[in-house]
Symmetry: C2
Subunit: 324 residues, 2 copies
């Protein structure tokens, strides 16, 4: 096994080596731009690591890994159009830098390009790789659909929310882990287990994201604290708080949600306080711990070298402690 | 060989049999709606016919054929968003019936679904089928990009225009023909030739479309005559007329193009007249004849039964005479 950074290094080399046709520039430049915005390249690195851990040829896993990274960035491109987001990683989004038609069309091209990279998997495993990739893509669209629908509802249950974040973000982590296993020719049962590991760690990570948006340290977290509260974003925190609060707490929470132009610092402080009082902070920490533990237990059951398992434990550690 | 209608019948059955998940309805209903809008199903029918003509198992070609039809309809869905078109086949477009986010996301899901159908091709031929499909998709996006760019230019040359329509519409006909050949296990040289046949017939068809929009009979053509003239759409007709006219004709043409609120009947009559006077009508008819002849000559060179070739000749006839 290599260090995570060594897998990352191979991924970065491969991303830099992606060849974009020169014409039409208007179609391909926005794709190159999107891939240049950076990102931690976690998903493709996981593909290589999983392939290695299951005794496969890491070089064979690079193209499918790049396919997943292209796919992930395509979802961000189209999501930014749907969410009307102007900035991503401190830079203008594609529909702002160019226009909306470009964002739609270049996104479509990115999606097809990603499939072309998946198709470069070794012939014996390509059908399985392609089927996993396509099925995962459909789940991600379903997650995005639920996410958009939930914004219009006030009665979203915890189970629905968890399923939505599972579909929208966790399945891609599961897919990345399983993709590496498939390329390595792992047993289906082990491939399914490493998928579940990735999915569970993804759930823990997203819940932690929801928690840290309220309780995190601005410098470590990388973005302003309280953004979700200001946007009334239906995170685990808000959903559980609505559900778990009663009497005055409940009334106060609803007031803050419906306030037209509340003072920012006041609202954030007040809602954060309600979350703590009502027990949502403690519950979120409990859920995160639960998912992390389940992920590690799932890992244990896999037929994999101890060295391989240690790499995945270290990755889980990195992912869950990165933001604190 | 069967009649074209018999291939069409199998395609219609397969389209009706497409299974859409029930949830989330907001993601899948727009896809089902799009596929229900109808259409002549020419592309998937060609897949089956080509497979049969090359001695393949037609049943094996159905899933890839449906993949191409799903793909084609996905391009219409996203194109309608980019072109801001409110109506398709007399019904509201998806972004009108639902909203733009739905049109983008359901389109993405359609694209992935289409790939899932291509992936159902028999294992031995699936990689070739997938590579052809992905490469064709990239060309179609390039064609759409050029189409959008040309709208902003006044100096588009004939060669650029022909390349744009080749990419935007003809390559998919080529792809449909070649897809059937691939499923049937045809020789690569023959597969390439039937591709070229499809591409050339596609070019002839699109040019005929440009011609008939000016000179066609409204009842047979299925839409109002003169629409392209009113929209100053950069068709073969307009591009060549700008290029071939001089003196008073040229000045008059530019005046009509730049006229702010011209009388509809007047503009159509005047521009149609210029087209005829300047020789554009004759030239278009010549190009159409040229491409049709080249398509038939290409067909001759293929290692295919006379019965198979006759089916393709009949198809070319149907496509080129349908609108007259």
């Amino acid at each position: 096994m290599l260090s995570f950074n060594e897998y990352l290094g191979q991924v970065n080399d491969a991303v830099a080596a992606i060849e974009y046709p020169l014409q039409p520039a208007g179609l391909y430049e926005p794709i190159e731009y999107t891939m240049s915005l950076g990102g931690k390249r976690v998903r493709p690195s996981l593909v290589l690591m999983a392939c290695d851990a299951f005794g496969g040829n890491v070089a064979d896993s690079v193209a499918p890994a790049i396919g997943l990274e292209l796919f992930h960035n395509f979802t961000l491109l189209h999501d930014d159009v749907m969410d009307k987001a102007d900035i991503r990683r401190g830079k203008p989004t594609v529909h702002v830098k160019w226009n909306e038609n470009t964002a739609i069309l270049s996104g479509d091209a990115m999606l097809t390009m990603s499939a072309q990279y998946i198709a470069k998997a070794p012939a014996a495993v390509m059908p399985a790789a392609m089927n996993l990739y396509n099925a995962t893509a459909m789940e991600i669209y379903e997650g995005q659909q639920y996410d958009m629908e939930f914004e219009e509802r006030t009665d979203v249950k915890e189970e629905e929310y968890l399923n939505m974040i599972r579909l929208k973000t966790s399945v891609l982590l599961g897919c990345a882990c399983k993709m590496g296993a498939i390329v390595a020719g792992a047993e289906e049962s082990d491939a399914a287990l490493i998928y579940r590991f990735g999915e569970l760690i993804g759930l823990a990570f997203q819940l932690q994201d929801d928690l840290l948006d309220v309780y995190g340290d601005e410098k470590t977290f990388g973005k302003a604290i309280g953004g979700d509260i200001m946007n009334n974003k239906k995170t685990f925190m808000l959903i559980k708080a609505i559900e778990m609060s009663s009497g005055d707490d409940h009334a106060e929470l609803l007031q803050w949600i419906n306030a037209v132009s509340p003072d920012k610092a006041e609202k954030i402080a007040a809602v954060t306080d309600i979350y703590t009082r009502v027990g949502v902070k403690a519950l979120a920490e409990e859920r995160i711990e639960q998912y992390s533990k389940e992920a590690l237990a799932t890992l244990e059951a896999i037929n994999m070298s101890e060295e391989g398992k240690q790499a995945f434990r270290a990755f889980a550690d990195y992912l869950m402690k990165r933001n604190k």
